[in-house]
Symmetry: C2
Subunit: 509 residues, 2 copies
């Protein structure tokens, strides 16, 4: 059987641009994993990892114009957005380099012997070591920031783990280009090219997750695809951690008082957030609880005006476009659902943004309207109008896990009057990030960021964005009774590397 070709496709026309590669065979996946595994030693030195990450950022920036052009040709996300996303990606690589330099993530804990403990404590010194080869499953919607050189790769390399990336079929040519840049950066620091493997093909992705030398995986994508890989990771003879970001509705609650105070601003802000990147963000607000009555009507009117002004957009591929068109049609056809701005097909290759409304009580109990509580990828949101706040919280309590949950409060509520704190507490179980008077799109790269949440937002308690993402690729090891002469420098009493640590119980920074 001939190897299946991998085509680069123009989403603006649906036409094949060029054949980029062929799908990887089981043998090729095995070779990529073995090459990555062999590169572990070259990443053992933290200084090398940090320098490699910084060089990768420098080289990606140097190649900006051809990379953005290649990305736009395959994703239609436009040069402005893609230039910004590349800048974010480089910022992220450098942020992880800084984290590697600081070394807090190694989590050094040293206990001297203590005969007063029950039972007595011997000399124990613990730190974290890299897990091994990490499989990275790229997302379609962020061809730079959640793809070959994205957060999973940056954090894994920072942790000392080589990666094998399963390229997303929506931007295979860009994936090859970026992988080449990363390998050139590696070579500059004496790290073998195998440190960043790249494979194409659905079957190759399954081979990868099942490979005995793959020690962990990161994934950003759909619930269906992510769950299949999660299941495969769990079914291995030796299961491995699978950090998947699968899907999220990102509910927004607008209080009666907030709507009364600034209905127009909220409506316009919502329109901007839900149509950003043609609605292809994992943190797109997909369900908005807004009050019935005049203030809520003003919000809907403002949303109607702003979304109505949005031109047609191109989705990342034609399958997504077909799913969007079918998904919004099915939702719009439910009883009591209205479409103030009808979402759906635009031209032959485009879609139109829109939104639906529904009385919130329709969502308060199991039924056909539960479809509205499932993520619909693309520029659409559902505005559920509630009669009173208990109706709104009843809907919230039915939601599965989310990446984000947002509340819009009035000035007085934000200042502590009324139920602001209570609502915040009610949103916390729903999501990994809770926002007040803001919109969830735009996920900052920062130490305190948490881009994760209860299932299906993520399959673990970890984050895929922000400083703590590096923790996913490490495991602790404790050394007992080990002579000074044999200790790695990280675990020596005199702390030659100047690492933050816990020393005989006390935190030292």
């Amino acid at each position: 059987m001939a190897a299946a070709p991998v085509w680069s496709v123009d989403p603006r026309t649906g036409k094949q641009r060029e054949q980029v590669a062929v799908e990887a065979t089981a043998q090729e996946v095995d070779a990529a994993v073995r090459a990555a595994h062999a590169a572990r030693g070259a990443l053992a030195d933290r200084a090398v990892r940090a320098a490699f990450l910084r060089t990768a950022a420098d080289r990606l920036e140097a190649a900006r114009d051809p990379l953005v052009e290649a990305a736009d040709a395959e994703t239609a996300l436009g040069p402005v957005r893609l230039t910004g996303e590349l800048a974010r990606t480089c910022y992220q690589l450098r942020a992880f380099a800084d984290i590697v330099d600081e070394g807090a993530f190694i989590d050094v804990i040293i206990d001297h012997p203590d005969d007063t403990a029950t039972p007595p404590v011997p000399d124990l010194r613990r730190f974290k070591v890299p897990l091994g080869v990490v499989a990275v499953y790229s997302a379609s919607n962020f061809p730079f920031a959640f793809s070959v050189a994205g957060g999973d790769t940056a954090s894994a390399l920072g942790a000392g783990c080589p990666v094998v990336v399963k390229a997303h079929p929506d931007h295979p040519a860009l994936s090859e280009l970026v992988a080449r840049v990363l390998r050139d950066a590696a070579a500059e620091h004496g790290v073998p090219a195998g440190v960043v493997g790249l494979v194409h093909g659905f079957e190759a992705g399954l081979e990868l997750i099942r490979h005995p030398l793959v020690a962990a995986a990161g994934f950003t994508g759909s619930v269906r695809g992510g769950r299949a890989l999660f299941d495969a990771a769990a079914a291995r003879p030796a299961p491995i951690p699978f950090h998947g970001e699968l899907g999220s509705l990102n509910p927004v609650l607008v209080t009666e008082a907030a709507a009364a105070e600034r209905a127009e601003a909220i409506g316009a802000g919502l329109a901007g957030s839900m149509t950003l990147g043609v609605g292809q963000f994992c943190v797109k607000p997909g369900l908005v609880l807004a009050p019935t009555g005049a203030a809520g009507d003003r919000l809907v009117k403002s949303l109607t005006d702003a979304v109505g002004d949005t031109g047609p957009g191109v989705l990342l591929d034609h399958r997504m476009r077909d799913n969007f068109v079918a998904g919004v049609a099915e939702r719009a056809g439910l009883e009591d659902v209205e479409s103030p701005v009808a979402p759906g097909a635009g031209g032959e290759h485009t879609v139109s943004a829109g939104f639906l409304t529904v009385p919130a009580h329709r969502l308060a109990a199991e039924g056909a309207h539960d479809l509205l509580l499932e993520e619909c990828f693309g520029p659409v949101t559902v505005v559920a109008r509630y009669e009173d706040e208990s109706e709104a919280t009843a809907v919230l309590s039915r939601l599965p896990g989310n990446l984000s949950a947002t509340v819009h409060l009035s000035e007085a509520e934000a200042a502590g009057e009324g139920r602001g704190a209570e609502l915040l507490a009610a949103l916390t179980p729903l999501a990994g990030r809770v926002l007040v008077n803001a919109w969830p799109t735009g996920v900052a790269v920062a130490p305190a960021q948490h881009h994760g949440g209860p299932y299906p937002a993520t399959t673990s308690t970890s984050t895929s964005v922000g400083g703590t993402a590096i923790e996913r690729w490490m495991r602790p090891v404790a050394y007992q009774n080990t002579p000074e002469a044999l200790l790695p420098p990280e675990l020596r009493d005199d702390n030659p590397l100047g690492l933050p640590r816990r020393f005989n119980g006390r935190l030292e920074r």
Copy 2:
């Protein structure tokens, strides 16, 4: 159908002592989980949690004599060991109370807005919140320290998570007693009794792991039982973290120089470690790589003498006894395997400790002898005699994950001469704890402890003993753009609770 009775059994006679309870029905499991879930709010205050844990320790100590008596009647572990184990359990409860007081595990990270970042960083404040109800699966071999009031329960309560414990069938009466002590301690601090649920029965254990309100699980036990529960946790509509400690061979490598230097001491130390608690420790050294030749012969001789002097012992139950007898017979029957002290059946209810020897090359490649690389619960170990060190490391490289890996070095090797550091590096991928010139039995409760390791040692990268065990039951949440008035005190700039944290990138302690 009548509810299945739960019997307390005397392992010294195999006779039923009394009926303790009946196996929990699905409805009873549901009620226990709901009661635990309802108790979450009472655990929200860290001060209450710490006080509750300390009172639990006080009350367990106050009830020491009847508890030890009850434990001995069901486990035959003897009052000395059990008194020590109870002391350890109380120490552990108080250690977690101290950890709760300090609050580092909440992992506060605060970022003020930063417009110079790419993209700009908004106000972000992250900490960790309790996951929810934790299912705890008790172990047979530590009726106090890894059971109802053991490390999983102590760390979960410390994290703010109520527990429902699945009692181990080898000590159901003790489980009921200990649960009552914990509930009395809870009541003293206004925490509802449901905060510590207890259910009996195999089916109840499966119901528990599948319950939608159960948010995570801790397990200590066999590979078969643990894997079944892990699989059930992964197969849930919303999978949950399953922290299971399943099985471990705990390899020991004795270098030629170490054997030459102190063969007798090593043989005697090994005998003590492998027969401790009638060989029923999860960190029992189950495979020892010792050199051929005179020094190794002296080691075997010393082991022969010491193990030969060990009297018969009672295992935790008769099923274990039967498995031990069959397991050692099967292993002893393999080609080239010798039994200098034959392990096996003792009297009608007891077993005799022993050990087997085999040429290491028999273990270097797949074959019938792989049985010797599987854990055999009870007082037996396998001494594999190697011709040269490469033969020894070839065997090590074939091992699955372990809780511990040990190397015995000569004085010169420990001082940095020869291959000590190299051997330490070779053992690190095998285990979560690496020991030098020590024995793995005896797992100290300490900040730097790591009691976990690559699968099947554990099903996650976490530990079930030591301070960081509390991390298993938490998930991060980030608050974005949240007004000061609505922030939990943990996340306020002025740090009213005095928590260690990362503030605008800097570690503060």
